[in-house]
Subunit: 308 residues, 2 copies
Amino acid sequence: MTLQQLTYVIELNRCRNFALAAEACGITQPTLSAMLAKLEDELDVRIFDRSNKKVTPTTTGAKIIVQAERAVREASRISEIVAEEKGSVSGPLRLAASPSIAPYILPEFIRQYLKSYPQVSLTVEEMRTENMLNEIANGKLDAGITISGNVRDGIFEIPLYTEKFLVYLSEDCKRDQNEFRPEDLEHENMWIVKEAQCLRESAFSFCKARAKGKQIYEAGNIDTLIRIVDRNGGYTIIPEMHVALLNERQRKNVRRIEGDYLSERRVSLYIKDDCIRQNMLNTITDTLRRFMPEGMLNRRIAQYGIKL
Amino acid sequence: MTLQQLTYVIELNRCRNFALAAEACGITQPTLSAMLAKLEDELDVRIFDRSNKKVTPTTTGAKIIVQAERAVREASRISEIVAEEKGSVSGPLRLAASPSIAPYILPEFIRQYLKSYPQVSLTVEEMRTENMLNEIANGKLDAGITISGNVRDGIFEIPLYTEKFLVYLSEDCKRDQNEFRPEDLEHENMWIVKEAQCLRESAFSFCKARAKGKQIYEAGNIDTLIRIVDRNGGYTIIPEMHVALLNERQRKNVRRIEGDYLSERRVSLYIKDDCIRQNMLNTITDTLRRFMPEGMLNRRIAQYGIKL
DNA sequence: TCATTATGATAGATTTTATCTATGCAAAGA
DNA sequence: TCTTTGCATAGATAAAATCTATCATAATGA
């Protein structure tokens, strides 16, 4: 069994076609056939069923593929270690952010990052927190950005920034004051985001404190919520950074929340605690630092050996 | 980079000598030299410093070796998957038990296991719980046996059995009763085991409930404790299975604990939750079942997909 | 200091393996 | 039925891993 055979298996699983997979691997189709046959022979098990014009993994094959991906990934880490030791910042960087955070930081982050570190091939995706932590743990992701407070063996949390929650009021119920006192609007409808786990939990805490027995509606995302508020009245909670995405008129509807209700959320970077690619991960915090408002940044990031 | 090169690196790190490592790998010394040179060339970094008659890993090399071990381990899992799918029970099985449990079950376990599954190359060692869980998580161990209640991502707990705590009294303070009422001996010294984390915690709970402000002494292991009690009077707490190791005379000093003080401990098998080698792991519970007293076994093991 | 020994590196030959080109063969679709 | 699609096979070739033999060097010790 060789790493190369394993990569062939992985690629074949992606393509489900010998000719295409071979091309992707930079070899010819007969070579791929032969190598697969050899591996199957050695393991004495079929990995792909190719009897009926379709290339599909066998039951055992599917498990082998998953494990092959692990093995190849671990092997590729060796090159990353070397690059890291040389202080170079290059190679692949797989980053994720939770849906309730991504829209506020990713656009600018990507722009800044690609400019600063052109040798890094950056992959960014939105991902829910739970999934994100799993992917970090198993090495498919290098880092993830989501709400602070996730504790998990083998994963470090590195605080990034703190942002306030604000209230977005409908025009109807707008008062001529700068701060929002929850008491003012107890009779109004509060709208909150559905499914955005981390944002909703925060919002719920607020709700529980405020809206005793009141009806609560959920929408798919904050933009929709704001449109709902605009049309139907009531109010919703938005994170501070969402203000940047509002238009001139809408910004007039934003109020600070008065009092001590849970009114902020902390956001952290999550990484594997194996200490590989420290330099690479520093580039993430370096980049964030460049465009985040100074007041929101958490200085104590330094204590984790990651500078900021 | 090939898996073979990585195994050469690993072996060379073990031997720290080219000729010996080459022999261990079944190749000649020049081949090993060449292969290492090739890998170092490819990575463009020295893995071993061999300038001064001694073969030692460089700083980067040390990290590479650790990662190489991971990669090779993950790759070797593929063969395990295949063996598992074929229903065969063979190959290596690395098992650990915590020091406060090992002496009671390992001797008989090993005897029974080797008899039933001669194709398995069983490795057993004593290990503290914390270390054990780490080793299971990183794949160096297949399974570990210790006190129940350790929760950790990626690791399953499978309850094995429950055993009572008993009291071992000195001859002096022996009473002519079958049960031990803690009140009877509040003025006596209670001796407990030092360092045996899991046993001590249980014992401490008991102590706290009982000996308010009383002096407590600690000894290295239970055998010593019993000798201390025999000589100095007082009492100590021992797990039920320890009785089997006591001699005729000593057994007369054992009493049940009366009342509701924490008086039992649960023991579990810990395994990685990746579901590979299910058959193999079933052999562990199968074997335990064969010689454990029926009343101590936990029936609900079945719910984890592992039969018992 | 100078042979001796131990240990890794190098050279060149040889074997093994991976890969290529060309072709065969079987199933699906027209 | 005939064509197309797609994997397997054969035989040749290129690349690699490995071998034997030998060299170079640093530590060892008389």
